[in-house]
């Protein structure tokens, strides 16, 4: 395709930066209180006072989209940290020790992968109960096998490299080899995986909260806003637009960013 600038990285980075800033600054940018109910101004169409209109309880939609972003991003970040925090060590240990440790850990990972991702998240929420804290755990569980596989693959690849063999010959313990040699060489891959996993986490969070299993009202979340919009769809169709735009933009941004980083690290593609 010839030399060209890394467009996905630039566009993805810009979207990600914009959404993160809007979410972080929500309390200062949002014109209203996200949970302030206003019975007099229910289901108002977009106007100067409420640029995206108001919902069935008279709450300002623009305010709730901004604050919903905060909830979605925090759930996504914590879920990725849980998934990577459990999955990566599992994978590294499985790859390093091999044998029955590997077999046992990978059986568990395969078991988790035998569930469709959203079903596994729903099952976990059914066990833990609904809520955005529980959703973090549920999405984290879904991500465990993803990170475990990446880490295990890399540990297996590095196990027979000269520097690992040299370290072992010098008497380094398994823990030292893992921590000082294999982990640093796995971090790059884990970062790429984390970027892609994050967009999936945002989408799963939105799905869970759409089903009423994620953030509980009155906490604003993009998924639940769409559920509320669906109930009044033919009275106030504008409610069904912006939370969806926000989800799609966030997922698109992180996907592009992940693609861009991968292209940059692997110039052959």
């Amino acid at each position: 395709m010839g030399p060209r600038r890394n467009l996905p990285l630039a566009i993805g980075g810009a979207i990600v930066a914009a959404i993160t800033l809007l979410a972080l600054l929500a309390p200062w940018l949002a014109p209203y209180d996200p949970t302030a109910v206003n019975p007099g101004g229910r289901l108002a169409p977009p106007s100067a006072a409420h640029p995206l209109g108001t919902d069935a309880l008279g709450r300002d939609v623009w305010t709730r989209v901004l604050h919903g972003g905060r909830v979605g991003l925090v759930v996504g970040v914590v879920a990725v940290v849980i998934g990577a925090g459990i999955g990566a060590p599992l994978g590294l240990v499985a790859g390093q020790f091999g044998g029955w440790v590997d077999l046992a850990l990978m059986r568990l990972v395969d078991g988790l992968m035998a569930f469709p991702a959203l079903l596994l998240a729903i099952l976990t929420v059914a066990a833990l109960g609904p809520g955005h804290i529980q959703a973090m755990g549920a999405i984290g569980v879904v991500l465990v096998p993803v990170f475990a596989r990446v880490a295990r693959g890399q540990a297996l690849r590095l196990r027979d490299q000269e520097f690992t063999i040299a370290a072992r010959a010098l008497g380094a313990t398994d823990a030292r080899i893992l921590g000082r040699h294999i982990l640093p060489n796995t971090l790059g891959l884990l970062w790429i995986q984390a970027t892609v996993a994050f967009s999936g986490a945002v989408l799963t969070e939105a799905s869970l909260s759409y089903l009423g299993l994620g953030a509980q009202p009155p906490t604003p979340s993009w998924g639940w806003m769409l559920q509320e919009a669906r109930e009044v769809l033919f009275v106030a169709p504008w409610l069904g637009i912006w939370p969806g735009v926000a989800i799609a933009a966030a997922v698109l941004g992180w996907n592009l960013l992940g693609d861009g980083i991968r292209d940059r690290l692997d110039p052959r593609r």
Partner: protein, 304 residues
Amino acid sequence: MAPTILVVATLTFVALNVVPGDLAVMLAGVDARAEDVARLRALYGLDRPIVVRYLDWLAALGRGDLGISSSLRAPVAELVAARLPATLSLAFASMAVATAMGIALGSWSARRAGSIVDASVLVASQVGLAVPNFWLGILLLIGFAATLPIFPLQGYAALVRDPWAWARHLALPTLVIGVERGAVLTRLVRASLLEEMGRDYVRTARGKGVGDRAILRRHVLRNAAIPVLTVGGLQLGYLLGGAIIVEQVFGIPGLGRLLLQGIYARDLALVQGAVVVIALLFAGVNVLVDVLYTRLDPRIQYAA
């Protein structure tokens, strides 16, 4: 297959029975009287040790007995069987749409790699990946309700009773899941076609004077099908997951809605049964994909 069934069943049981604490208290409510809790515990056999309950449940599962739903007061196996046709219809129809879309768009853009067509297909598929299926469903509801009221917006009709109504009910939900999964397959078909078209055998065939069309059909598509099938099999997991949520948007009485009904009603047997059946469907499809491989590539052996 057999180990997968066991692992899926075990994980489901552990998640729902070990994690949440006292189920009887949950069913009765926190402020229930002690004798009510005890009555419930005996009624659902919760007073027995967990290992016994697990083995009992597994044995029953083996007989196709999924227990009795406490909220709908009917055998779970019957409820699941009644909901299965809707979910399977949706899954197969969307898979067909996704595959057709993936092969058509993917090979169209691969043959014109680097052109404006290729770039537009890539951008469109990136957007298709990012749009949540339930939101696309909502947008279609808004659009069709206002402009073209030819599709029923909610519900389902059985295929055997009224094929025309069946198709009309499924059109929009199928489009939603089909487009979502089709976006993934488009990118994949494009990438693996491009990779195969750069191989030596293609150059050889070209050197022999074989036409582009014949090369694509006779050689490239066959080789490119293997990675597509791998990811396609995994896609079915997302597709079933997508069906859970899209059924909710369009009010289709399928397995996904049954599962959510069970969760909202804290109906343990119903949740357990629905989860296991959906997971087993997924596992079954993956075995089918493995078998298909051996058909496409005789070098691959399927170890049962």
